[in-house]
């Protein structure tokens, strides 16, 4: 059990990559096909595209709030114990977090309907993993300093809030230009859960007070749970030397936990130059049924050590008072295990934007010579420049998080498009991002990163991400 919990701790607190998931540079970047993944209602400007398998979309992001790697591990000659005490224990709150996400497109493609060119279909499969760990402030203090000389201080068990998930996602979407100024999109997602670990919505406390009889009283009031799916099989595979990759593949290809989700998106042209967009992503859930093991610690107990009150205790002079005490505690606050199936909801993401296009150059920059007439819809490609703002929100265990982005995009004929963003969120108020889409014949290459100011010392960054990919795009008539 200790081994299991140790592995869980590593998994949950690891800097795997970002649950914040804000792809502010990619959002509404029409020249990049993968932009349809963050707004299924985007204006599609190509006839078809095919992502190069496994490299059409590679994305990773890591974020920490309140603390950086450099804060603790900088080779600055300071005592690490003092740094941990000053910069973590005495500074971080239970709302600070470490999180990360990675996403890799296995397949990604899209094509315009020959029958009705207003329809554009997209499809694909990607794998995603995330880990999220809020700073367990009270539990960290308890572990680091203990309960001694802290009479009356309650250590809140709700501070433990961590989750992690690996899933494979098969998706199919339709994007339709409803009117000249309106495009809608929807996507269905079939999830296959590979691994899920979650300890959220815990409650209770641990407290030490003066005792009524003895010197001290320790009180535990607990309603805690840890849910896992797929973990036991993973540990077994690791212990037995069997293929962990094989297990991941099997569970990822619909041998794991089933789930269903939807994405919705819209683009609306207010006028020739002004466009508003919005999307809701991952409205869905997974039903964890395979290899489920849950742990619970629920109940309440107050103890003041072994208590012998004479003459009552003389009735049973051979009683094992220590074992009786241990049994009583285990009865009052049982640590239990079960295999009950459970549901987990995907974190819903929301994007919206307003974009103003200017610097008209007279013809579409990306000249789609296809049946579909892009100039009847969003006319942004007629303009060299776009500028605007984006709002992002994600549903999180401790409430929604928001990010506000200002952006500027510049197009250089058909070949090159650049986008610069400035984002403010809980992780950093100075997040400058850049993205580039390079079109060489039918080959599209894109790359983007954010919080570039932190690249001078990436270890001191609260936030970093990158994304890149390679696609083949057809702008030609079918």
């Amino acid at each position: 059990m200790i081994k299991t919990l140790g592995l869980l701790s590593i998994l949950l607190s690891g800097y795997m990559a970002c649950y914040a998931q804000n792809k502010e540079v990619l959002y509404d970047f029409q020249e990049i096909p993968q932009a349809i993944m963050v707004n299924p209602g985007i204006n599609t400007i190509y006839n078809w595209y095919a992502g190069i398998p496994f490299i059409s979309g590679i994305y990773a992001k890591g974020a920490t709030s309140g603390l950086t790697v450099n804060d603790i591990f900088a080779a600055d000659g300071l005592d690490i114990n003092q740094k941990v005490r000053d910069r973590a224990l005495n500074s971080l709150s239970e709302r600070d977090e470490v999180n990360g996400i990675f996403q890799v497109d296995i397949l990604n493609g899209g094509f315009r309907s020959q029958k009705n060119p207003a329809n554009f279909f997209s499809f694909g499969m990607y794998i995603e993993g995330y880990a999220l760990n809020y700073w367990p402030k009270d539990l960290a203090v308890l572990a680091y300093e203990g309960n001694a000389d802290r009479l009356g201080q309650r250590f809140d068990l709700n501070d433990l809030n961590a989750s992690g998930q690996f899933i494979n996602v098969l998706h199919f979407g339709i994007n339709r230009q409803i009117k000249n100024n309106l495009t809608l999109g929807a996507r269905i997602k079939l999830y296959s859960g590979i691994l899920d670990i979650k300890s959220t919505n815990n409650s209770g406390y641990f407290e030490t007070t003066l005792g009524e009889n003895n010197l001290l009283r320790n009180t535990l009031v607990s309603d805690m749970r840890l849910r896992t799916s797929g973990l036991d099989a993973l540990l077994d595979a690791n212990d037995n030397g069997s293929s962990v990759a094989g297990l991941f593949t099997k569970r990822g290809l619909f041998g794991g936990d089933p789930g269903l989700g939807f994405d919705l998106g819209v683009t609306y042209n207010l006028n020739d130059q002004t466009v508003i967009t919005g999307s809701l992503l991952d409205i869905g859930l997974l039903y964890h049924t395979s290899d489920v093991i849950n742990y619970t610690l629920k109940g309440s107990a107050s103890i003041e050590g072994v208590e012998i009150i004479l003459p009552d205790a003389l009735n049973d002079p051979n009683a094992d008072v220590w074992e009786d005490l241990v049994n009583e505690i285990e009865e009052l606050v049982p640590f239990e295990e079960n295999n009950n199936n459970y549901v987990s909801f995907r974190p819903i993401k929301f994007y919206s934007s307003i974009r103003y296009n200017f610097g008209k150059q007279g013809e579409p920059v990306a000249d789609c010579d296809c049946d579909y007439k892009p100039n009847s819809g969003d006319r942004s490609l007629y303009y060299l420049n776009s500028a605007g703002a984006q709002l992002y929100a994600i549903n999180r265990p401790r409430g929604p998080q928001f990010a506000l982005t200002a952006f500027y995009q510049r197009r250089f004929a058909k070949v090159l498009a650049l986008k610069a963003t400035y984002t403010v969120d809980k992780f950093t108020p100075t997040n400058v991002g850049l993205g580039m889409s390079l079109q060489a014949g039918p080959v599209n290459f894109y790359i983007m990163g954010d919080n570039l100011f932190s690249y001078g010392n990436i270890a001191d960054s609260n936030y970093a991400s990158f994304q890149l990919g390679l696609n083949i795009i057809s702008w030609e008539r079918n």
């Binding site: 300093e145 003895n214 103890i303 050590g305 004479l310 074992e323 001078g456 990436i458 990158f466």
Partner: protein
């Protein structure tokens, strides 16, 4: 901008995205991280009323051995750095008492003992702290303790009654241990 070839611009852009620096990090510092919380909790509480002492015709002698495995639990025994055991004895009876705490190992051998002489009431509460570890007694006492024996001898008569309400002998104790987690 139009004088800069787009290919050069793209190369510069990619170089910029992929170029990052990091100040030197020393992850070996983790070896110096000391996580040594101090935990405290009550150990044993014994309450003996005066009328029970008076029921014994001779010098009342009470001795009881309690199984107590909290100290020699593997986690505690392997990781304890030092600690203090606090005793608090309160006597509101009319008898002077001789009380002894003994720590025993699994075979019943005495590892350590602490003796208290209590005057008859009215008398002050007697508090004593015993340190274990580098600045005190051997930690092996704590590591190997499997039972606690409490012995009480009545050094007075068995007829007198204290004028204080509910005359009783109270034995209270707690432990405060520093544990090495990392």
């Amino acid at each position: 901008m139009k004088y800069i070839p787009k290919s050069i611009l793209a190369i510069l852009f990619c170089t910029g995205i992929f170029s990052s620096c990091a100040e030197k990090q020393d992850f070996d510092q983790l070896d110096d991280l000391d996580i040594t919380p101090t935990a405290e909790a009550s150990i044993l509480y014994v309450e003996t009323p005066e009328d029970l002492i008076n029921q014994d015709s001779g010098n009342y002698f009470y001795s009881q051995t309690f199984n107590f495995d909290a100290f020699n639990e593997e986690f505690v025994a392997d990781n304890i750095l030092d600690g203090v055991i606090t005793y608090e004895l309160e006597n509101t009876t009319s008898k002077p008492l001789d009380i002894t705490f003994e720590f025993l190992d699994e075979a019943g051998n005495i590892l350590d003992s602490e003796n208290f002489m209590l005057n008859a009431a009215p008398t002050a509460i007697l508090t004593r702290e015993i340190a274990y570890g580098p600045a005190g007694r051997s930690l092996d006492i704590i590591r190997n303790t499997s039972a606690i024996r409490v012995s009480t001898t009545n050094l007075g008569d068995n007829t007198s009654v204290s004028s204080l309400p509910n005359p009783t002998v109270f034995l209270r104790s707690s432990a405060k241990f520093r544990i090495l987690l990392q």
